[in-house]
């Protein structure tokens, strides 16, 4: 306990320095901005802004990037409530009851309860990270290559199961992602593989290029293909602070949402996306009168909003302790850390405690800032929502192009991004989910490395994965999860969960 407080103390002294506070604020503000604007997600934004952080010190850079990430979760709910379009994937559920509340003239209260719930969830999640960080890091130090490989296999399995749409298609995406990650020089011999003889592919496909193509460009194509319908609320927003009885009504929902979100967020393979859906389903189940849902039930906003924020934050746990990114945004964090010469993993906490604890403390500070800046600034966000998309997307394209170009000063990267944009749009048209692909791509190199190391240690025998208890256990879980997901009963339930 003493350690816990000392560690947090170190964190707060780091995070409260003037420059880090400013960076945290900037990150939160930018994050809210992209969260509010539909059609531009946190992944594209972080990829775009990655070059901006080259000159910052690593702690500051990560604080800002983290701020963008959870700021976007916050901002997404504003769009969902006011315009009935999810600003982010995680705020899809909020449109159901949040927008109905806005139609009933309770927009302000919906926004207020979303912000309060998110703040509460953020606070709890920060504590969870701080509490779990040390023990998990110690566990991670016990992991050998076989265990790491098994853990990554588990993560990929989760990403398949948690993705929308057909499981087979997601599985295919994982394989394609892994395949893409093997492009470039071989890890041990340096021999070029799958480069089609192209010089620019000898270093492999760059993550920013892939992510920007699949999430930035493809997103724009998607938005242009579907003419948007903004169902803007013109009614006044009304008072923001919920009344005492409304607060009491939604507090259990916030509590349950936070718990669900925090637990799902830790799962490798992007559990955070599932959290709001799960929370909504749960609230509907425990409610005395489920028919109120979909008509503006305050619990239907409070629960999912808390869940998505809690999940967004606990997603940092696998990254900070094990060095394994659970989703695409965390993969970009890995990129940012590597650029600054930090290898994510258990050694970060021992070698750079200021960075580790500073980042954790900054999350709580960031959540507080979001609460304070968002409520008064809602008028500004509303006005931003009225900017027509025809002006927005050329600007996004310009920023994307400059962003991709300046990571390596390579014009070829911009061309390759365009190719991935086309590929990503094709995937969308055919109903493939890009998220498992990106995660597999990120984990691919590490997975291959660990797999090979494990096989060298065991002299080429695959039994090493069965003989080591931790590795065997992880693989067993992966197998069970996959089998359960294929089982017909669960499959129906899963489809239903996504439909709601």
């Amino acid at each position: 306990m003493g350690d816990f407080i000392a560690n947090l103390g170190l964190g707060f002294t780091t995070a409260l320095s003037l420059s880090n506070l400013a960076l945290c604020f900037t990150g939160c503000l930018i994050g809210t901005l992209v969260g509010v604007l539909p059609g531009i997600g946190p992944i594209a934004t972080i990829a775009m802004l990655l070059p901006l952080t080259f000159k910052l010190d690593p702690t500051g850079a990560l604080i800002m990037l983290a701020g963008i990430y959870y700021g976007a979760q916050y901002g997404g709910s504003t769009t969902a409530i006011l315009a009935n379009i999810p600003g982010e994937a995680t705020s899809v559920v909020t449109t159901l009851d949040g927008h109905q509340m806005a139609r009933n003239g309770r927009a302000g209260i919906a926004l207020g309860i979303a912000a309060l719930g998110s703040f509460f969830a953020g606070t709890v999640a920060t504590m969870v990270i701080a509490a779990l960080g040390v023990p998990l890091t110690q566990v991670a130090l016990l992991f050998g290559p076989a265990e790491y490989a098994a853990l990554m296999a588990l993560g990929l399995t989760f990403s398949v199961v948690l993705a929308r749409g057909s499981i087979l298609k997601s599985l295919a995406m994982v394989f394609v992602g892994l395949l893409l990650s093997t492009i470039g020089a071989d890890l041990e011999t340096g021999q070029a593989r799958l480069t089609l003889g192209l010089e620019s592919l000898s270093d492999g496909v760059k993550f920013v290029v892939l992510a920007m193509g699949l999430f930035g460009f493809a997103e724009i194509l998607r938005n242009l293909a579907q003419p948007e319908s903004r169902d803007m609320i013109n009614a006044p927003i009304g008072k923001l602070l919920p009344s005492w009885s409304e607060l009491r009504q939604s507090f259990p929902a916030i509590l349950r949402g936070t718990g669900l979100g925090a637990a799902l967020g830790i799962l490798p393979g992007n559990g955070a996306v599932l959290a709001p859906f799960a929370s909504y389903a749960l609230e509907k189940k425990v409610a005395a009168d489920p028919t109120r849902f979909g008509k503006g039930a305050i619990e239907g906003v409070a629960g999912p909003e808390s869940a998505n924020n809690a999940g967004a934050q606990t997603a940092f746990i696998p990254l900070l302790t094990l060095g394994i990114p659970p989703n695409a945004v965390m993969a970009l964090m890995v990129g940012a850390m590597t650029i600054h010469g930090i290898i994510p993993g258990p050694q970060v906490m021992t070698k750079r405690p200021d960075l580790f604890w500073g980042m954790i403390a900054s999350m709580w500070i960031g959540n507080l800032m979001l609460l304070i800046i968002n409520l008064p600034l809602i008028g500004l966000w509303v006005r931003l929502l009225k900017v027509p998309y025809r002006l927005m997307f050329p600007a996004i394209m310009l920023f994307c192009c400059i962003g991709v170009y300046s990571v390596n000063n390579s014009p070829g990267d911009v061309l390759m991004t365009a190719a991935f944009g086309l590929f990503g749009f094709g995937l969308f048209k055919l109903g493939f989910e890009p998220a498992p692909l990106v995660l597999a791509f990120v984990l691919g190199k590490l997975l291959e490395e660990k797999l090979r190391q494990a096989l060298v240690l065991s002299r080429g025998s695959f039994t090493t994965f069965v003989e080591k208890p931790i590795a065997a256990g992880l693989l067993l879980i992966a197998l069970v999860v996959l089998l359960v997901a294929i089982a017909p009963a669960v499959r129906r339930g899963r489809e239903q969960a996504f439909k709601e």
Binding site: A172, L194, L224, P394, C401
Partner: protein, 137 residues
């Protein structure tokens, strides 16, 4: 439409198999290609057996202009600099939307390019070429 969707699925199935040409050491890529191929075939047969809903109308206009804009940026940024490439990408991309007002786009493109120039080149000293043909860097 059903045929179109089935055909497109079949295409994605065959595509990764085509890249088999070049693998170097290590069995991982080879194994993965096999896995991709198998899952692709499974999806393709599934797509052909079931009657899909088709992939809907693909708007060529958006695709050509948005991706064309990015390609134009990639080709022009080094020889011509951001002064040309910036507005160029924005104007080409603007053409992707049918309801574009050209005067707006023009003004907006010029202003935003200037802003990016100030931000990235001078604010953050990124080595982006500004206008090599005019001022030499």
């Amino acid at each position: 439409m059903v045929a179109l969707s089935a055909f497109a699925l079949w295409q994605t199935a065959e595509l990764p198999v085509g890249t088999l040409r070049h693998f170097g050491p290590g069995m991982l890529p080879r194994a993965l290609v096999a896995l991709v191929g198998v899952s692709g075939l499974l999806i393709a047969t599934g797509g052909m057996l079931r009657h899909g809903e088709g992939i809907g109308r693909v708007s060529l206009r958006g695709m050509v202009f948005v991706l064309g804009g990015a390609v134009a940026f990639g080709l022009s940024v080094q020889p011509l600099g951001l002064v040309v490439a910036g507005p160029l990408v924005m104007l080409i991309v603007s053409a992707a939307s049918a309801e574009q007002r050209w005067l707006d786009s023009l003004i907006f493109a010029a202003l935003l390019s200037l802003f990016c120039l100030a931000l990235f080149r001078f604010g953050l000293s990124q080595p982006i070429p500004v206008a090599p043909w005019l001022i030499g860097y």
